[in-house]
Symmetry: C2
Subunit: 392 residues, 2 copies
């Protein structure tokens, strides 16, 4: 049983200029904190989230047993990021659909729901908004900023946008930018959403519908890229879905195993277990995730590219970072492969920065960063233990 987490909200009446030239004002950020801030505010750890996550990083909500935060195995009392030592902040990003101001909220000028008019936000914009939240919380400098995947991009960007405010950056299963293939998968997902007739140019709220077809396809594509080929073969392989039993029948006994039954010979019925799994994941996702948020977050991923302003030279781009770094990657992650983490490591070493790097031999693909792997957890624990010693 985990500890009780309590979501909070902070209102920001002032204008936040965005990278695109647009701006947001009168926005809210949803956040949670765990642990106690030191008197000198030296033990703060900011956790940045990836695509399908939020400020609810750890703990459970009162009276909701199964509401563990998305990184509850990593963060909490006695866990690798130990909230008996650290004051941990989880913050939901602008444009999300989990609490902070996003496309389903009203524009403060018109009172109309933003929908597709919500401005495009970037990793840099999110970091700027997070910095203002820290200002309000009285935190000048972070002991560490931590994130996986898109969250890792935010952690990296913190060290470039606010070098003096970050002592350590922990960048897990991330990349210095997306490859063409990464962008391609995002684009297919976006096209599936945008061409769903229920999308209505992003103003589907007005029509009382949701582009569920598109969201399902987007999520199914995402899921394939989160898992490794090996883990998919191990979990699902070519196993057929068990045949549906007649109503009232008890559990099948003595009959042929599902894999020995004949094919259904159908193009639309579910034949293989992997199909059943993907359809289920897609359906579930389409019930709670906002279509405009999906577009915004995948675009923030596409756009992140700190080397772009330096003629593509990542070493030059990272020269301004002064934090110490831990980078972690997973061997079977083909979405953000170890090669991409090594690019960051190399650029930091070229700048003679203090870098630790762990390449974890894990079978789970990109999803590994959310799972319990003993070596991974141990690397994280010892790194955060060493940070804790700096302010103990």
């Amino acid at each position: 049983m985990s500890f009780i987490a309590t979501p909070q909200t902070m209102h920001f009446p002032e204008v936040l200029p965005l990278q695109s030239g647009a701006s947001l004002r009168d926005y809210h950020l949803a956040f949670e904190t765990y642990g106690t801030l030191n008197p000198d505010a030296s033990n703060a750890v900011l956790v940045c989230h990836a695509l399908n996550a939020s400020h609810h990083v750890a703990g459970v909500y009162e009276g909701q047993d199964k509401s563990e935060g998305w990184w509850d195995n990593m963060i909490g009392p006695g866990k690798p990021v130990d909230t008996d030592k650290f004051f941990v902040i989880g913050v939901n990003n602008l444009g999300s659909c989990f609490g902070s101001t996003g496309p389903m909220h009203p524009h403060p000028d018109t009172g109309e729901v933003y929908g597709a008019d919500f401005p495009v936000v970037t990793v840099e914009d999110w970091v700027n908004a997070q910095a203002r939240l820290l200002d309000r919380l009285g935190i000048t400098q972070l002991a560490a900023v931590l994130g996986g995947s898109l969250g890792g991009m935010q952690a990296l960007s913190w060290t470039l946008q606010y070098p003096e405010r970050v002592r350590h950056a922990v960048v897990v299963a991330s990349a210095p930018n997306l490859t063409a293939e990464n962008i391609a998968f995002n684009e297919v997902a976006r096209r599936a959403i945008v061409t769903d007739p229920d999308f209505h140019g992003g103003h589907f709220y007005r029509h009382g519908v949701i582009p569920k077809r598109g969201l399902r396809i987007a999520r199914m594509i995402g899921h394939i890229t989160y898992l490794s080929d090996d883990v998919m073969n191990e979990k699902f392989g070519r196993s057929l879905r068990a045949p549906t039993l007649p109503e009232g029948a008890g559990p099948a006994r003595g009959g042929p195993a599902p894999d020995l039954r004949d094919y259904l010979y159908s193009t639309q019925d579910i034949e293989f277990q992997i199909e059943s799994y993907l359809r289920y994941q897609g359906d579930k996702f389409s019930e709670y995730f906002d279509a405009n948020t999906y577009l915004l977050i995948t675009r923030a991923l596409d756009y992140f590219d700190p080397a772009r302003g330096h003629g593509g030279d990542l070493t030059q781009a990272l020269a301004r970072a002064t934090a110490k770094f831990l980078l972690v990657s997973f061997t079977t992650d083909w979405r953000f492969s170890p090669r991409r983490s090594r690019e960051i490591v190399k650029a930091l070493l070229d700048n003679r920065r203090h870098v630790s790097y762990a390449e974890i031999d894990a079978p789970h693909g990109h999803d590994a960063f959310l799972l319990d792997d003993a070596r991974y957890m141990s690397v994280m624990r010892s790194y955060f233990d060493s940070i804790a010693k700096e302010f103990a």
Copy 2:
């Protein structure tokens, strides 16, 4: 300039029993032949096609300069499969949309277009239909059966269904079955098509519409899996699409290169060249490919699994093959990786069969089997030269 090819059609009034238990009758097969059949019919080569191809394997159509067959670089006079020596047959599979009987043709009983009622066809069914075509052409035994990808599965199946009718099987960029990840990509593509409101349960012809949205998504997903990550990065990388010039403007001169322009900061406009490429491929495909055919062909891929009837033991499954084999795979093919070809090689060697295997170090991913790679072409040429010596 290639030679002139002439498509032909053969009518089969008799019933073809299918693996599913259903059957087809009164069907047509579209085919082409190149070269001349020996008096003893010993020089015939059957070419089996993959997802998006047809009986038009080589040559051009009269008066249509740009109508080269899909394997015109491989097959023709003086080419690796030399039509001065071989009598080559290309045949379009049942269920296709390129000439043979398929979902857009009328059911012989009712006169109604099949649509979604076209029976599910398997690799084994296609091979049976091809065998009947060869009967009509007076060909008892093939010098070789040849195919890439799904075509390679047909070539492999020939050696199991009609071992005595095949002297050589050439299986390129193929696999003994699909992995869970392969099935997953097929399933997402099918869901995109089936959930397109214009699909109308597969009877869209009656409604005068085409499920183009779904076909576009299906093709975009396919394209990503045909290319290697490396070749995508090389061809497209993170390059931005050149800005659209005002109408009447000449070619841009002296302005900033497209990659130096600012982002558009849009979730729906085309920002990156890879997006432009994928949308173009998707649009083009949706103009000519039939949605029901897409479902049928991806399902035939999913179902192929010769080891299934042998408790998953591929060695046992291939024991009945007596042909000599050439297998070819490409290092960067992540759709049908070299590992999958090696499974076939191993199972054949376990059975002490005659096998040659070439693993070509090519950057182009799965698409490599259609491209001109000097080492690949040279392997094919020398293998077919050696076959030709057997009947010369």
